[in-house]
Amino acid sequence: MTDFSDALSVAASGMKAQATRLRHVSENIANTDTPGYHRKTVSFAEEVARGERSGAVAVGPLHLDQTALPQIYDPSNPLADENGNYLGSNVNLLVEIADAREAQRSYEANLKMFDQVRQMSSALMELLRK
């Protein structure tokens, strides 16, 4: 029985981690046109509880992508310098969408596992009912 509850909590932690990742992706997409915005990335790590690996996923610290910001020529922009350039954001929409798709795929895999484990444990409970 502890196997099942462990598995359920691990699957839930996986979904939570992917949801956090998806949130940062949408923040990046929303800020595509924000001048000076660095895209955010998250890293995952295996959770360590009471000195031992629990198998659950923990979201690591947030990182800012340090790729150079592109210079955008637009003299009418209030942020433009004397040459008419301002710094845009380093968000690449294609990368973000690919990342979002990957997060979705992983989220669905975790959800499927959650459902499957739940089915198995309810089949076990069914034995008691008769």
């Binding site: 099942f4 598995a7 996986g14 890293s43 790590a45 659950a56 996923v57 992983s106 089949a123």
Partner: protein, 126 residues
């Protein structure tokens, strides 16, 4: 008397094994994007069961622990596939197959157990 029926023990051990394996599979899938994570697996039930046959101690009294209890202690081992650039060796497709296998194993074990129970019930005349 009933606790010595090996059918129930085997079925119970099989269900336990399937659950333990499912937990390992879930852990792999949850960590499918964790850098440096290595996929794990448990040996198949048939292998653990056979392995226990030879070296296991014989239970000669009802109070003795049976071989079935040892199966739960099977250690997960690494099942490395081709690692991706970040060192993660989980293959979602492989895990998907494993998950279905585990569920089927669990269902099969429970079906056997249930059937054994109904035979007992019939014998009791209920």
């Amino acid at each position: 008397m009933f606790e010595n029926i090996s059918l129930f023990q085997t079925a119970g051990a099989m269900a336990q094994h399937a659950a333990a394996r499912q937990a390992v599979t879930t852990r792999n899938i949850a960590n499918a994007d964790t850098p440096g994570f290595r996929a794990q697996t448990l040996a198949a039930f048939a292998d653990t069961y056979r392995a226990d046959d030879g070296g296991a101690m014989r239970a000669t009294r009802p109070g003795h622990m049976h071989a079935a209890a040892m199966i739960a202690a099977a250690r997960p081992e690494f099942s490395d596939g081709e690692p991706s650039p970040n060192g993660n060796s989980v293959s979602l497709e492989q895990e998907m197959v494993a998950a279905v296998e585990n569920q089927r194993e669990h269902d099969r074990a429970l079906a056997i157990y249930k059937h054994g129970l109904s035979v007992l019930r019939t014998a009791l005349g209920r």
